[in-house]
């Protein structure tokens, strides 16, 4: 199956190890969530995959071919990142035009349509766009580029709730009708948790979780209720962490639910964001 393979990638910046022997596979036609705290190494990893910076060791393969300095492989990937590398004075519509030159499958009409939906004036120069519209412009390109693998680094940075909602809908609609691989790197875990299929969690440059959301979240459950009751229940169990508020307590348990749960305890699914926080707190 076609995929992007990241093999033993390590990157150091001086004394800091930003990416530590990372191994991941991104299969085609799936939506991935790449989650990590600030400085965990997400952006560095994405920059390495897309040939913007070089790893100290390891390799990135796109459909079996080494991606580094390889035009053919790089044509299959697109990265939408926080930093804008388009010339400041270029107009949005000209960016569309040039993107089509470099990525022949770029759908200019679709991009124009999206620009209207987001109320983005395509005659504006890049530098004149606010943070929000800068993100909008970049995510429009990412949604229109039609490469087999698309990486989105903080796609909804600075977007208001309405536009974020619109983005997710557009992404899902596009993915449903024309599946490709999308990797979303974001801090807004709650928003993406139902959109992504697989989740990769990075902590301090290392991959700590790399599996489907379903499998990850089904590994445990949450119990909430009276603090004393919860405490007695969780004794001896594998606890990921707890939250307390006065006499009420929630505990995040790894393990299978027993068939007879004590009365007075509210059971719910593991929540991806809460799970993430517990996993990545130092």
């Amino acid at each position: 199956m076609n995929c992007i393979e990241i093999k033993n990638i390590t990157k150091n910046f001086g004394k800091t190890c930003a990416v530590d022997n990372v191994n991941i596979k991104f299969d085609e036609n799936k939506i991935y969530g790449l989650l990590g705290r600030n400085g965990a190494g997400k952006s560095t990893l994405l920059n390495i995959i897309t040939n913007r910076i070089f790893a100290d060791s390891g390799e990135v393969l796109v459909d079996g071919a080494i991606a580094r300095e390889n035009d053919e492989a790089l044509q299959k990937i697109y990265l939408m990142s926080e930093k804008t590398y388009y010339p400041e004075t270029m107009k949005v519509k000209d960016v569309f035009k040039w993107t089509k030159t470099f990525y022949p499958n770029f759908d200019v009409e679709y991009a124009q349509k999206l620009a209207e939906k987001f109320e983005l004036n395509t005659n504006k120069a890049i530098k004149s766009l606010s943070t929000g519209f800068s993100s909008i412009f970049k995510l429009i390109v990412a949604l229109s580029v039609n490469t087999p693998y698309v990486f989105l680094d903080e796609p909804v940075l600075g977007l208001d709730a309405n536009n974020r909602d619109l983005f997710y809908r557009l992404l899902i609609e596009k993915y449903s009708e024309n599946p490709s691989c999308f990797v979303i790197s974001t801090h807004l875990i709650e928003e993406v948790s139902n959109v992504i299929e697989d989740v990769v969690i990075i902590k301090n440059g290392r991959i700590i979780k790399n599996e489907s959301c379903e499998s990850l979240l089904s590994k445990g459950y949450t119990v909430s209720g009276n603090a004393a009751l919860v405490d007695s229940f969780i004794a001896g169990k594998n606890i990921l962490g707890t939250d307390s508020l006065g006499g009420l307590k929630s505990a995040y348990i790894i393990g299978t639910m027993q068939s007879d749960m004590p009365q007075g305890l509210e059971i719910s699914k593991l929540d991806l964001q809460k799970l993430f926080i517990q996993l990545t707190n130092s």
């Binding site: 899902i172 609609e173 449903s176 139902n194 299929e197 009365q263 719910s268």
Partner: protein
Amino acid sequence: MLIDFSSEKAIFIQIAEGIEDGIISGSFKEESQIPSITEISVQYKINPATALKGINILVDNGIVYKKRGLGMFVAEGAVDKLCLTRKNQFYESFVIKLIEEAKKLKLSEEEIKSMIERGFDK
């Protein structure tokens, strides 16, 4: 159809049940089209694979079927099939829970019975 994302029940099951409810209530008539995977996943902002999983349950149970190039349609006899299944589940889904709650509130069997009668009179 409302999805409770925090519920213990998996999303794809909620989708399947939501469509089943629609079929039983008559919102989706037999041989009529149900929303597509794309429509469902966009509406609830969920991954299409999840929606597909839910629909596949219905397909496996013969509740809906796929017309090539057109979409998913409610199968003939789906309503009867569903009512039968639901009737069998009624005891587990509702009665047990009702009795549990009643016991919690210390309601007697007689009180429950009269409440039920009151409900049917309405």
